[in-house]
Amino acid sequence: MADSGANNKKKPRLIQGNEACAYGALYAGCRFYAGYPITPSSEIMEIMSRELPKIGGVFIQMEDEIASISAVIGAAWAGAKAMAATSGPGFSLMQEGIGYAAITETPCVIVDSQRWGPSTGQPTKTAQGDVMQAIWGTHGDHPVIVLTASHVREVFEMTVTAFNYAEQYRVPVILLLDEVLSHMRENVFIPEPGEIEIIERKRPPSLSDFRPFKDLSFLPFGDGARFNVTGMAHDEWGFPAQGQEAERQLRRIIDKIHVDVESLALFDETYLDDADSVIASYGITSRAAESAVEQLRAEGLRIGFLNLKTLWPFPDFLFERLPAHIEYILVPELNLGQLVREVRRAVQGQRGQSLRVEHLGRVDGSLITPQQIIETVHAFTGSRISTEGAPRC
């Protein structure tokens, strides 16, 4: 990283989303990467294989994605900030390990550069089809944090945030990118060390009465506290628990995320003060939404914009507090209706029939365009503009 940007702090660098992700991870203190090649995430792995040995970090290419996430969890318990990056098919394989990381409260970061699915699908075509899998992919109720980004600059920042949240909450954090964002190049100012706060694992006040599954404090193997880690339901010491203790522990690890939903929620709100319609989007689709909102505003429509960067825990409060004059929410996303379900759930009961939530999906492997969003808004609001000369999708 040092030879690739930090020396030129005044100059932006034209880098790919995947490069920004790798540099963000290194900036955050990631010192262990285990992975398996898969399009469109492989550049993250290639950069980590080049950079980590220079700074004494560990890179290893494992035999599959299950081994990758398992090695990442092992490394985290040996004290390292650790990550793996993958895409849909590999992300499916990692679900086993994500569940283990969730119940063992292992800080780690998993990056999923989404591609068209299911199965092998279209490996080089973009999608936002892994949202529900990121939230609910592994079996059982479990805590995860799911983040996303829509600019290359933001990929860097959100990767750092992913590590910070992982360390702060002792939880697996999933960062959802997509094929376009992974491979798109944009100018990025790489921050100097110290410009972004880096959160480190909280150590217990003393070794003697350390309970590894009591709270957010953490000690790695080899530091003198000889405890047990297990994927079974367990007590505060890491030994099997059943019944009420199993329930109490499960509720604790889920509550530790959900009680902090407001501080975990990263988002941008624009033009909500006078809006009667809102476009709520996330990830790469927010680029088109942002552009559409500006064009609709120029036409005189009272339209607002909500860009979500934290997808889970879902920021229900943002929708609960929407001004009463908002009658319509459009959720564009590159799938057949995933995050829109969360939006509908969040507004349900608050406003009854007076607030309509509509979905705009696209699953042909291309991006939703600003024009598509504009036309959808026009169709609902009854407003009409000339579409003459505008590109059709």
């Binding site: 040092a2 030879d3 010192r31 262990f32 285990a34 080049r50 040995p53 220079k54 700074i55 004494g56 560990v58 290893i60 494992m62 035999e63 599959d64 299950i66 081994a67 990758s68 398992s70 090695a71 990442v72 969890i73 092992g74 490394a75 985290a76 318990w77 040996a78 004290g79 390292a80 650790a82 086993e96 390990g97 283990y100 790695p220 193997f221 080899g222 530091d223 003198g224 000889r226 405890f227 047990n228 880690v229 297990t230 994927g231 079974m232 030994f239 099997p240």
Partner: protein, 279 residues
């Protein structure tokens, strides 16, 4: 109760273990802690990683840094631990299902990489914890909950697999011969590189009951008769050899260990970077 010297390595609160009366796994654990004791390893510097199944319960009762992982992945978890903290002694307790079925991929690649891990395979030739189903190690013809008419599948020779995949230390013994087991474990722990010890262990509850070897002592004799020292194996008729698994140390050769190679790689990368900065 008479205090045994190895008791300091056990978590007394977690005993008795979940293992059935007559299970051979306790013999392996006793041999393991004796071997660790003879190597004078500090408890804080030892990590024991287990998979899923009866053998996977080993970490719970041992007073080291312990980790009970997912089915078949113990070696992958151990790989992450060892690479991050190479100074720790990492021991992996797997079952035959872990090593040969669901985790077969991780097993062959761990053998190939030659990281300094000690892998113990508790081979009871059956899936004990789930109620006695067929394993890839169940001898052909034997019965299980999912081969009630006798298994038609040829059973895996895990030592041959380990040798083929490049493990540096490969040995097999049974819980019948405690002294040999302890000796093999000591040698495996000393070995700098990936070591595999396959231990044929007894499961009177499932394997024994389903195959008319119900008593624990009968199962121990069954294991003795199932195996043959490798020197003797070489002299037997081929047909006889097919029915009996050889025991002994099949390989004990060191090659450069993975974490050492990785350290050297880091030095090369760092030197190249420092050099390019100086230009």
């Amino acid at each position: 109760m008479l205090k045994e010297p190895y008791q300091e390595y056990l978590r007394s609160d977690e005993l008795p273990s979940v293992w059935c009366p007559g299970c051979g796994n306790g013999v392996i654990v006793k041999a393991l802690v004796n071997a660790i004791d003879s190597l004078k390893l500090k408890k804080d510097d030892v990590v024991v990683v287990g998979g899923i199944g009866c053998s996977g319960r080993t970490p719970f009762i041992l007073d080291f840094n312990t980790m009970h992982t997912t089915h078949g992945r113990a070696l992958a978890f151990a790989t992450g631990i060892k690479l991050t903290r190479p100074e720790l002694k990492v021991i992996v307790a797997m079952g035959d299902g872990d090593a040969s079925a669901i985790g077969g991929n991780h097993f062959i690649h761990a053998c190939r990489r030659n990281m300094d891990l000690t892998a113990l395979i508790f081979n009871n030739a059956i899936y004990g914890q789930t109620g006695g189903q067929l394993a890839p190690t169940t001898p052909q013809g034997k019965r299980s909950a999912t081969s009630q008419w006798g298994s038609i599948e040829p059973n895996f020779d895990l030592c041959q697999l380990a040798l083929g995949a490049g493990a540096g230390f490969v040995a097999r013994t049974t819980v019948f011969d405690f002294q040999e087991l302890k000796g093999f474990l000591e040698r495996a722990l000393w070995h700098k590189g990936f070591s595999v010890v396959e231990i044929m262990t007894s499961c009177p509850t499932y394997f024994g009951r389903m195959n008319d070897i119900r008593e624990p002592y009968e199962m121990l004799h069954y294991l003795k008769d199932l195996t043959i020292p490798q020197d003797a194996a070489a002299m037997e008729e081929e047909r006889e050899r097919m029915r009996r698994l050889a025991t002994g140390v099949f390989k004990d050769e060191e090659r450069t260990e993975y974490t050492q190679l990785y350290r050297e790689l880091c030095e090369t990368a760092k030197a190249a970077t420092d050099g390019s900065r100086g230009e």
